[in-house]
């Protein structure tokens, strides 16, 4: 089986590597690029711990071959925080409002929430719940996750208004 040449832009940095076609995007990120923010939870496209942004859409990287993502821009939780390590508003809100307990689902949860707020900057609680329905959390009961996303949306919107 012949290897394929994979070119991706991951968190703003171009990478190019040979890969076995059966390599899943999550394995490429974690094992070839040492980007270990996206987690392998269920490995069956249910839990969303492996969620990354692929060309501006949330996807589950455990169920995409790296060849399918060839040429794409990928953003992981590492690309959501500031280059200086400062936390994104969503990350601050999750910390402040206790939107995590064990933290395993958090990178996928925040990566999904980040895209959700691009798609819908002012979601209702119901829209937040529907929007993160592909991300499972077995600790929090979701209450504080929804609260954190709502607070982050409010902060991002008021920052946006202040800038205008």
């Amino acid at each position: 089986m012949s290897k394929i040449n994979v070119k991706l832009t991951v968190n703003g940095t171009e990478v190019e590597k040979l890969a076995d076609p059966r390599t899943l995007l999550i394995h490429f990120l974690r094992e070839e690029l040492d980007i270990t923010g996206p987690h392998i939870g269920c490995d069956t496209s249910h839990c969303g711990a492996c969620t990354v942004d692929l060309d501006g859409k949330s996807v589950k990287s455990c169920t995409i071959f790296v060849g399918q993502a060839n040429g794409a821009e990928v953003t992981t939780i590492e690309g959501i925080s500031g280059a200086d390590g400062s936390l994104h508003v969503l990350q601050e809100a999750f910390r402040e409002h206790h939107g995590l307990q064990c933290g395993f689902c958090t990178p996928g949860m925040i990566t999904r929430a980040y895209r959700l707020l691009q798609e819908n900057p002012d979601p209702t609680d119901e829209e937040i719940r529907f929007g993160i329905a592909g991300n499972l959390c077995r600790c929090t009961g979701y209450q504080n996750i929804v609260k954190a996303i709502r607070v982050a949306a409010e902060q991002l919107n008021s920052a946006q208004e202040a800038a205008e």
Binding site: R22, L24, S45, G48, T63, F65, G67, Q68, R112, G134
Partner: protein
């Protein structure tokens, strides 16, 4: 879970994809979004030696509403189906059903073509296409042919799609304006397949049901076109007796397997409930 090894191909036209399939033979599989195939490959229940990715084929994408005819390219994702206002105006049941498939991430990659061609009785689009009396357009090395959704499904994962053929689009006549519609799906949780689901499209005139079409999801080896249930309500004012008959006739054609979603008896019961609810909701929406 690591899938078996394969060679990866990304043709840029339907012709190129069809020739590739012809030369690679039965060791090749096409992949659209991959959310049915890749899990099977991870379990080694599917071990193709060649994967032909259709994502670069522009002719397989897009939604066209031309007069009364709706054509949807096979590689159109569920997210794109939901986002299309033209489609929501011409045929709103597609948005309603698409929102009940998977979760946001799954809908971003899952396609209508993969959903209907896969042959999994759990998929939602096949019953919807049967309710709309859609045709599937199949392209192979010997040409193009249309097969009705109502004639496409033979058994679980067995369809009229021949080796080397690609399902390139679905096409149907939009239901008349003012029609009522509903896709009622009972599931245990978001992302789950239906315990049972019913798709209903109907028209009403002065309180009488003039036309109806009903199909069921995941209560048999294939999607089920419930022609008898539809006949039971046409010409009635959807009174209690007509609704009971429709539900009973729908239940009679089901043959669900017992699984984690419930016993066969329970899932048959749910099929009746979904049929009834979908008819009532569709009638309430008709004008």
């Amino acid at each position: 879970m690591i899938p078996g090894s394969f060679d990866y191909h990304r043709p840029e036209s339907i012709d190129a994809a069809v020739s590739l399939l012809a030369s690679l033979g039965d060791e090749a599989r096409v992949v659209a979004g991959g959310h049915s195939l890749i899990p099977m490959m991870k379990l080694r229940m599917a071990v193709p030696e060649h994967l032909v990715d259709l994502q670069d084929i522009a002719d397989l994408k897009g939604i066209s509403v031309d007069g009364g005819t709706v054509t949807i390219g096979a590689m159109t994702t569920q997210t794109e189906l939901i986002a299309s206002d033209a489609l929501a105006t011409a045929c709103p049941i597609i948005r309603e059903a698409s929102l009940q498939i998977g979760d946001p991430q799954v809908r971003n990659v899952g396609t209508i073509g993969g959903n209907v061609a896969n042959g999994d009785p759990g998929n939602d689009m096949p019953a919807l296409m049967q309710a709309l009396n859609a045709d599937y357009i199949l392209q192979g090395s010997s040409g193009t042919r249309d097969v009705a959704a109502r004639a496409f499904y033979e058994a679980a994962y067995f369809t009229a799609l021949e080796e080397g053929e690609i399902l390139s689009a679905v096409r149907f006549t939009a239901p008349p304006s003012g029609h009522g519609f509903a896709y009622e799906k009972q599931k245990r949780k978001i992302g789950d397949y239906a315990t049972a689901a019913a798709a209903v499209v109907l028209t009403m005139s002065g309180g009488t049901c003039e036309m109806a079409s009903i199909a069921l999801t995941n209560v048999g080896d294939t999607p089920l076109h419930a022609e008898g249930a539809a006949n039971a309500i046409v010409g009635t004012n959807l009174d209690e007796a007509a609704l009971n008959t429709a539900a009973e006739v729908a239940m009679a054609i089901t043959d669900p397997a017992e699984d984690g979603r419930g016993s066969a008896e329970f899932r048959t019961h749910v099929a009746g409930v979904m049929t009834r609810r979908a008819i009532e909701k569709a009638a309430a929406r008709a004008s």
